[in-house]
Point group: C2
Chain length 212, copies 2
Amino acid sequence: MFNFAPRNAKMNQSAEEKIRNAALRVFIQKGSSNCTSREIAREAGMNVALVNYYFRSKSKLFAIIFESVMQDFLKSMVQVFSSELPIREKIRILIEREFEFLGQHPDIPNFVLNELARNPQAIEGFIPVLNMVNESGVFDEAKKLQALGEMRQMDIVQITILIMSNCQYPFMAQPLMKVIHGVSNETYKEHLIAHKTHAVNMVIGYLFPNDN
Amino acid sequence: MFNFAPRNAKMNQSAEEKIRNAALRVFIQKGSSNCTSREIAREAGMNVALVNYYFRSKSKLFAIIFESVMQDFLKSMVQVFSSELPIREKIRILIEREFEFLGQHPDIPNFVLNELARNPQAIEGFIPVLNMVNESGVFDEAKKLQALGEMRQMDIVQITILIMSNCQYPFMAQPLMKVIHGVSNETYKEHLIAHKTHAVNMVIGYLFPNDN
DNA sequence: ACTTGTTTTAAACAACTGTTTAATATTTGT
DNA sequence: ACAAATATTAAACAGTTGTTTAAAACAAGT
């Protein structure tokens, strides 16, 4: 688990930790190429040379940060999918955990998708993690329920898109939506909380049309 | 309307047009800060100095490109909202047009949201365009239908999020989804086409629960 | 042909980039 | 207390950045 603590959260961090946490903040806010080594060092309150002293190069530092962010990004998804709950509950809890996670780290989807759009092969190192979802058997479970007519007949790819769309986009579009409707930060946060219920009900209602 | 034509589409473009179109392609693919003036010039097959000769500076060129992309990005949305159709049809056509637009320009949502995340005040110039949606009366129309119990009781902000999530995210997450499910470009495109129907049915079904 | 204004070029500019170096400070083991 | 290892610093490095300059090529009007 990565340390998302703000700059002054702990005073007893090592220099390496300070740089790591500063890099995490700067990379997520600005992207991998739209920031400088000196900016990261300044954010950490350290000398530029220390960044390379501990991490060899900017790109190696970014690889480490990106790896840890991706782990966090994928973890709750995989965990819930691998649980023993019935599939309706899996989806419900998945969406709720995603909203909880994104509430704390709203910039991560934008960061991840943007880095991936510019460098698609960056994701290949995470195929093992992603395969855990396949191996968990959720997809097989879904196919069984579809065969029984209990779950709507649609491709697993589209089910994933459906769920993720309604979780991640509301956080990614925050700057756009705030201006379109002229609402404050606080108001938008309340909308996000209310939106979680809509996402759960709409997605589950659509995937299991015989429920009510 | 902007010219999204590829490099060799027209041979009789002026130097200014060549640079404009090259800048459009490069900016969308790499973002405003992750590309160089020389890269844009090379893509246009011209000298670096010409970029500044016609557009004064890289940032002024980007402002022009961003403006035109935003116009395209917002246009179909506004047009449909301003039409005279009943609201169910408005939403259906809105989603279908969004999918059509995004099928041709799948990188634009990522580009726009990313630029907006790093520079939120960049959107302020488009408030007039956005206000056209308000002035069209769609929101008032929705509130009336909600008062009649015909439309689900939920905030306009959340309705917007609901619709946009299911249109834009499927395109934005393409690199992620392709790896998660190990599908090719072509297969994913087919999923996107099939997904349009799901988006329409799910959203309208959720917003108008008495329809069945 | 010659002047005028416009377009295009190569070269230069200073500022900034990631990275390295070599010297200094600090910690650690004995 | 001292020596070895580690941590930190300021300065320098070569390459790239956006931008400007000054000269050249081109077009059009007379």
